[in-house]
Symmetry: C3
């Protein structure tokens, strides 16, 4: 399937022509990816990708969840089970199953990203389906053996300027060290401060005492940092110390996937819960309260060390119990909850929201807060910026609704620019392409309706695609 050069632009000829013009200003700008889930070893080890099924289908829960929603089980799609029950292992079989069901994705972002990747990255201009499954599989498999399709080669071909991965405080930063030791390409070092691949400090598994293995991780943190994590002060010191390691590995941001946006500023209460949790005596209320208390502690650290906070609340993790029991986390069983921000964030914002060195980027899975809470907060606090539409909202319609609901109150310059948030490395160009096209389309409508000049719109388009993410996520000072 060939990609129409006008894809995602409005049908109206006048508006489409403007969108086309605007998009030409951003189409070739480098990709800035300040938030994502690519495994850093992919780049540091630079091994060939596995077969097409394992590259595109098996690890992508956008795809496996849609197939499951129509009765095709994760096992049939090759997802490894928790208890070792065999799943399909033959790549071609998985791929054929996927191709047979490709119609389920009609009109979805997943299909748009895949079709873009097949065409632009792999040079296949056909429509995937039962009849073409083998042809795709053979073509893709052949490409994947070539040096030009190794991760680092693709990274440079994709024109990625910087890619942030996400690690927990107890994760090894070895891959990032390896990247820092990798010979530079294109005049820029691969890892370390200011490198092409940087890390992000994501401490979720340290602040949820109910998450299996928490006390072991707390001990591990002590080993890594040499701090005594048996006290809350020691725990904080260990986190502070670990943040310095992350900063050395290029981190400019922390990221927080709390269940809600609740915050509290009460170090004493946090210390008490911590002590109880270590003894296994924290009750459910306390376990839920701890992340809210810790969010403010992390804000306190941000003011000290300059890491930009990102907050991704609202995901009811592992809602589908059967999926979780059978195939574990991150296989598509999460469902959003309604998420309140106005009251929830007040304690944190009271403490740091007007501090000149503090910055927080808010994301949501609940679009009802776009106009009601997020835009007013971003337009009312110097520290608050809005992240790109996330996950289920990372889509043409989601992005359009985001701009429509947010820009009139918060303007364009309180939004942080696009992040791809993906573990699907090969889809990165496709995702940025969609975002740039949708912003061009939206700005084109404002121009066509005489709400902005074309000159203003061009400047905004470039800022949103490139300057804003570099600035807001702290990448431009690197």
């Amino acid at each position: 399937m060939s990609l129409n050069p006008d894809r995602l632009f409005p049908a109206d000829e006048r508006t489409r022509a403007i969108a086309r013009e605007l998009h030409q200003r951003t189409a070739d700008l480098p990709l800035v990816s300040p938030h994502g889930h690519v495994d850093p070893r992919l780049i540091s080890e630079n091994q060939p990708f596995p077969d097409p099924a394992r590259l595109f289908v098996v690890p992508d829960h956008y795809l496996t969840r849609m197939l499951y929603s129509q009765g095709v089980t994760p096992a049939e799609m090759g997802v490894a089970s928790v208890d070792g029950t065999p799943s399909e292992v033959d790549g071609r079989t998985i791929w054929r199953r996927f191709a047979e069901h490709y119609r389920l994705f009609r009109g979805t972002p997943s299909k748009m990203w895949l079709d873009h990747t097949f065409a632009e990255v792999f040079g296949i201009y056909k429509e995937l389906g039962a009849g073409t499954a083998d042809e795709f599989y053979d073509h893709l498999s052949a490409r994947l053996t070539e040096p030009a399709y190794r991760p680092r080669a693709l990274f440079d071909r994709f024109n990625i300027e910087v890619l942030a991965t996400t690690e927990s405080p107890v994760d090894s930063l070895e891959p990032h060290a390896a990247l820092a030791a990798t010979p530079a390409s294109g005049g820029r070092q691969w890892g370390g401060k200011g490198g092409k691949v940087v890390t992000t400090f994501r401490p979720d598994n340290m602040v949820e005492p109910g998450w299996p293995g928490w006390s072991e991780r707390v001990e591990r943190l002590s080993e890594i940092t040499g701090e005594d994590t048996s006290t809350f002060d020691g725990f904080l010191a260990a986190l502070r110390s670990r943040r310095q390691d992350f900063i050395a590995a290029g981190a400019t941001c922390s990221d927080h996937g709390n269940l809600t946006a609740a915050t509290e500023d009460d170090p004493k209460a946090a210390a008490e819960i911590y002590a109880k949790a270590l003894k296994g005596e924290a009750d459910e209320t306390e376990i839920l309260r701890f992340p809210a208390l810790m969010l403010t502690e992390f804000a306190r650290m941000s003011v000290e060390d300059g890491l930009v906070m990102q907050l991704h609340p609202g995901s009811n993790r592992n809602h589908n119990q059967w999926l979780y029991d059978g195939w574990g986390r991150d296989v598509g069983g999460d469902i959003p909850n309604a998420t309140e921000y106005t009251r929830a964030l007040k304690p944190l914002l009271d403490a740091f929201g007007n501090h000149p060195r503090f910055r927080i980027v808010l994301y949501t899975l609940d679009e009802t807060v776009f106009s009601r809470e997020l835009a007013p907060l971003a337009g009312g606090y110097a520290s608050v910026f809005l992240g790109a539409p996330w996950w289920f909202l990372d889509s043409p319609e989601g992005m359009r609704r985001f701009r429509e609901a947010v820009h009139e109150t918060a303007g364009f310059y309180n939004t942080a620019g696009f992040v791809d948030d993906t573990r699907a490395f090969c889809s990165i160009p496709a995702r940025h392409d969609v975002a740039r096209r949708i912003d061009a389309a939206y700005l084109a409508r404002l121009v066509a309706e005489h709400r902005m000049t074309e000159h203003e719109a061009a400047e905004v388009a470039i800022d949103l695609a490139y300057n804003q993410p570099r600035k807001i996520y702290g990448l431009e000072s690197q």
Copy 2:
């Protein structure tokens, strides 16, 4: 008023042309109506309709509520009062009042449905108003005496393939038996399994102990089924037995109009509340909890007998106390509540959400859940499908927003297709016409923006209009 052939299509010429093409593929498909409120006696008795006022205005709370919102009382519109206070009885007077206020409906679905019905069903191509009220009344009255305007004649002329009515477990299925005994037309039987008119099992008045007459209905259920409903097990057995009667009368679905989407899986608690409720000792919390418990019991039955569940939560019934006191239920006094699904449905979905024989269709009056909860649930559970926009959302803009918010996450094939949900028999073609046009318009935009091919869109249009509702509501296996 003549109907423009391009009505509801986008103004943009390019998109409109595509919409026109797509709509031609679905315009003549049979109507599948798997959820509605037409009285089965209308078809079984096949008597002439009453006068135009009693056919179109008096029983349609969409119309009487709008008139009341501008001060015209239900009594003035001929709605029968609860206490026998006289209401207007003269059909022509009611009709004139309605016509004088027809401007209130400008741009609303009600007007669109009526104008379509006047033109396509009755051949009147004028605009209703004070000046034309009598002409309409006379014309309609004359038509209604003709054999071609009897219900069964219209049913066949409307090209309805199947129409589901809605009955309570204690309602008589006599009209359906009569339909089963009616000579077939067009090669298909009128009633019974696989018939043109089928029933739906709607047990709301059996699961709300606070609903006046509940214990009498429980006894009546015992009489009908021969089961001993003085125990909870007997109650469940009676419901199971009655479901078999409904299945024999063609039912493929049950329907549940709970106040919320809350569910609980706890048969013991249900049995306790049932026992207390029978003695009149259940408190308000228990009375509210019982339907949530019963929803899971009905899911359990569905897994056994195959009835597809439909859930219609979120209506705050009889909000307008004065209307309720004066004119009773279903006269337009209901107002939606915010409705949570993610947490609410988890107990039921934990129990049956991944069972291969379970299927549930979710509806909502709260469009904030479209992208936040419903699309992720439908895209994450094999058993979950999304019902058409309902009631206040059964409108061009409501349907458009539904597709925009849902399809990128859930695709098209996790939506169940259109249901007209109406008691206004003559408006059925108009309602399906609107839905098919809006889907054509939406798909046309995706094609015009190069997000789908025209070939894909045509297939989806046909599936949404015909194949999906047949499949999801269990009608195709009949």
Copy 3:
């Protein structure tokens, strides 16, 4: 910057042509402004406006909040501090700062209003920016010294038919008395009943016992009215008496800015809380409950004296504590909360919602209630009407979404028409211009999609712009 005559109309040529036609029908209608915050002394004293910075920037929290969201403090923008800490006083310096940051407002309503005002009111057809700041400042300053730019001259030039200001029961109505004594112009008196400038009864600071100075205000109310406010009955009598003063000063409405839409009908409870509050013994729950109880008391008064109620709930006042501590109220630190109406309003509507002499206009900052709660309420109660999109929603996209979400259920005639709600006197024509254009654009789409005739749309456009606000806010009987 010149104003394009097609601004805000849809790009599609067919629809744009219809919008143009419709807009011509309303463009020159008088402005009806039944709810706003202009200081009545502005008109009664008719002094020249201050310098451009103090006229346009310093008092407009839409502007100062956006600048603050990017780190420019209120002090730098000349906002007076609470404790006397010096703020910038030089108008030209403030103006230059504003001009340098004008790009932040790209595509926002604020910029649209300002550009319109610069062009249409002051005859400047350039783009404001760092390079043109001084030119703007000099031009505007020169104009502001001319008699034609005095408030009353502009009032008549703006073609304002009536402008409602907002006063508290303990505010002086002196300016309104002065207006009543001002010689008429254009054949109509300036103040008093039926005058060009009228007041609105806004008792918020009398019903929030936690608001500093409450008991002093209660005493002041006693002094003004001669009623004994030491008892609840006396308090009510004083409010009743004061409403008569307001009615004499032209008021046709009351306005209520409660935190939520909660209502209760329980005069006894209200009396008890009142007594405790006077003694300083009301607890937080009681303090929050009192406004809910008083809302129903005011409804009771409305039925007696005919004032139309307006309800503006949902603003979490002074969310930004640092802004509030430093610069006080109304400087941009308010953030909306989610707001429930269906259950909240039931007690009030049970009591008066079907009373033929009662009328209430509902506003919201939470657009999720447009289709779910507000449209059904307005379409289900004769007394309920919907106010224009307010504050953060008073924008082209906000207005469009309002019509799209509301009109199919409530029609056009249960909406009350546009209110500008502004303290920025010079922006009044710009705001009405935006509203009329957006309604024209929306109606044009309905016409282009054959959902209304052009004749119907023209009538609706005129009704929304002129007849509805006059009728719903009780201005036409004056």
